[in-house]
Amino acid sequence: MSVVDSPRPAGNAAFNLLIGTIQRIPPVVWFEWRRAFTISRLAWMLSLMAFPPGLLFLVNMAARNEPRVEVVSILIFILCACVVCMMSVFLWATPVLSSELEGRSWVYLAVRPYGPIAVLIGKYLVAVSWAVPVGLVSATLSVFVFNAEDRGHLIAVHSGLVLLSCLAYSALFLLIGVIAPKKCMVAGIIYTIIFEVAFALIPAAVNMLTVQYRLRCLLIRWMDFDKALAERNPVFLSYFGDESSAWHVGVLLGMTAGYLIVAGIILRCREFTAAIETES
């Protein structure tokens, strides 16, 4: 019987941390996935999944004419990549740490080698793996509500946006949950309203710091709306920038990695244990 990893020289501390953490992520993902597989959670996810196509079906019914592809695409983007993905990862990722602290189960994880960071990353992956299928199915069904010409392209674009949205927002909400574990849900809502809704719509440098801006730019690029918008009114460029799609994807993935790294550093450096003496 032997443990998977063995002690290495102190100089390899970062390497040890990386390897030790990676080795412990699969058990966390497996364990949390099994715990999450409950009827109530499935029902909630199905409801969330059905919400955009249901709403869009009603919109389509009420419309006199078939909506333009730009309108359809923007509606699907707002409902799927923004509302559904953001909401599902918000509910998963934000309370990752606070639920363990409140349930007093954190101490059991904190005394495992590399346990805290492995739990953080493992739970992040679980959040993403639950939210992505919900977003993908939701976006695909939404596309089929309308009689669009190039459904394959629409599905591909929105699937990409859903995936990036889940990856980035999960990491963002996870970080918020680690920074403010006691008030994580409130902090998450306030951050979302201020930055991802209000600031993201301000045509200034500050909106480039938001996930929303990057996703919006990608929608415009991937749907080839940018040229038409620029011709119509050049001021739109300040809302969507002129960087390439690859740049936006790179920045989004970089932001995701950055959020996770900062969350990991905070988790490793900060003390989450308060002295609680037994009362009896």
Partner: protein, 317 residues
């Protein structure tokens, strides 16, 4: 046997831990060799803070903590070698004991097969194998406590750290837990057990650390403690055939500071010389001068022991 650089189980050097302006642990210096040690103190004495420092969940504000020769804070190499049972429950109610212990053992670095085997062994050891597939939410307090112990011992640690392991257990469960820990100690492994009830850990170890208000008040064996407390003012209740005569004798000899007759046969004696009083009574009984049918200290509770030690510490005794 563990492999520490200094060969010591635990080394604390002037350790102070502050929570803002509140002192959790105050200037504690100690060295412990391998073996079983009891950490005693009333609620709020700083036991849990000290254990959090030892398990590396907290870092000292001042001073240094070394466990098995290693720095304790965020040290994966140390965490592989210790097992910890915290005072709080904190188990997932929606999983079985086997799933939970296997999961935590996997986080120790074992693969799925090994972790499952180790978890099974640990649950068998705590006599929970029969119920290990049931959800933890259906367990009694004693079963949950045994499950928590199983997660602490499953990876076969060199040092087991237990925070109030007897808390909330009924007498049968306490006995079962005591037997299990006696077995652990008899295998030559190290144990640090924190409690606020002296008799709970008296049967497990004779090495004690007494904490009060975050300070290490005393350390040593039970004999050392008794010696330390021998001359601390205490109240002794004596049931004797001639209480009035004995009261007069004690006052005359200076062994009693005050005496109080209680009923026809009982005498309450306040003394700062309890050891000498004991010798005096022994001699008197042997010589047939008095018939003593009962003798006990009134304030032998742990809280009073701590109060006495605090008085010694403050220099008021």
């Amino acid at each position: 046997m563990f492999r520490g650089e200094t060969g010591m189980l635990l080394e604390l050097q002037n350790v102070t831990r502050l929570y803002g302006t509140v002192i959790g642990v105050n200037d504690v210096t100690l060295s412990l060799a391998a073996g079983a040690h009891g950490l005693l103190g009333p609620n709020g004495a700083g036991k849990t803070t000290l254990l959090n420092l030892i398990t590396g969940q907290l870092s000292p504000t001042i001073g240094s903590v070394r466990v098995l020769g290693m720095v304790s804070r965020s040290n994966p190499n140390l965490l592989r070698r210790i097992g910890y049972l915290p005072s709080t429950e904190g188990m997932y109610a929606d999983v079985s004991a086997l799933e939970w212990v296997t999961y935590l053992t996997r986080l120790q670095g074992f693969n799925a097969h090994e972790a499952s085997g180790l978890a099974l062994q640990a649950l068998e050891r705590v006599d929970l194998a029969e119920h290990m597939h049931r959800n933890i939410s259906t367990y009694s307090r004693g079963m949950r406590q045994r499950t928590r112990l199983a997660q602490a011992i499953a990876h076969d640690p060199e040092l087991l750290i237990l925070d109030e392991p007897f808390s909330g257990l009924d007498p049968i469960a306490r006995h079962s837990m005591t037997c299990l820990l006696e077995g652990w100690i008899s295998e030559g492994r190290s144990l640090i057990i924190a409690s606020h009830v002296l008799h709970e850990i008296e049967s497990l170890t004779r090495s004690f650390l007494l904490l009060g208000s975050g300070r290490l008040l005393a350390s040593g064996s039970t004999d050392d403690m008794n010696e330390l407390l021998a001359d601390v003012p205490s109240e002794v209740r004596i049931r004797v055939n001639k209480p009035r005569e004995l009261a007069a004798d004690l006052l005359r000899s200076g062994l009693a500071d005050a005496v109080k007759l209680i009923g026809a046969e009982d005498l309450s004696v306040s003394t700062a010389l309890s050891a000498q009083l004991g010798r005096f009574l022994g001699k008197a009984v042997t010589e047939g001068e008095y018939v003593v049918s009962e003798l006990h200290a009134v304030d032998d509770s742990l809280q009073n022991v701590f109060n006495s030690l605090m008085k010694i510490h403050r220099g008021s005794v």
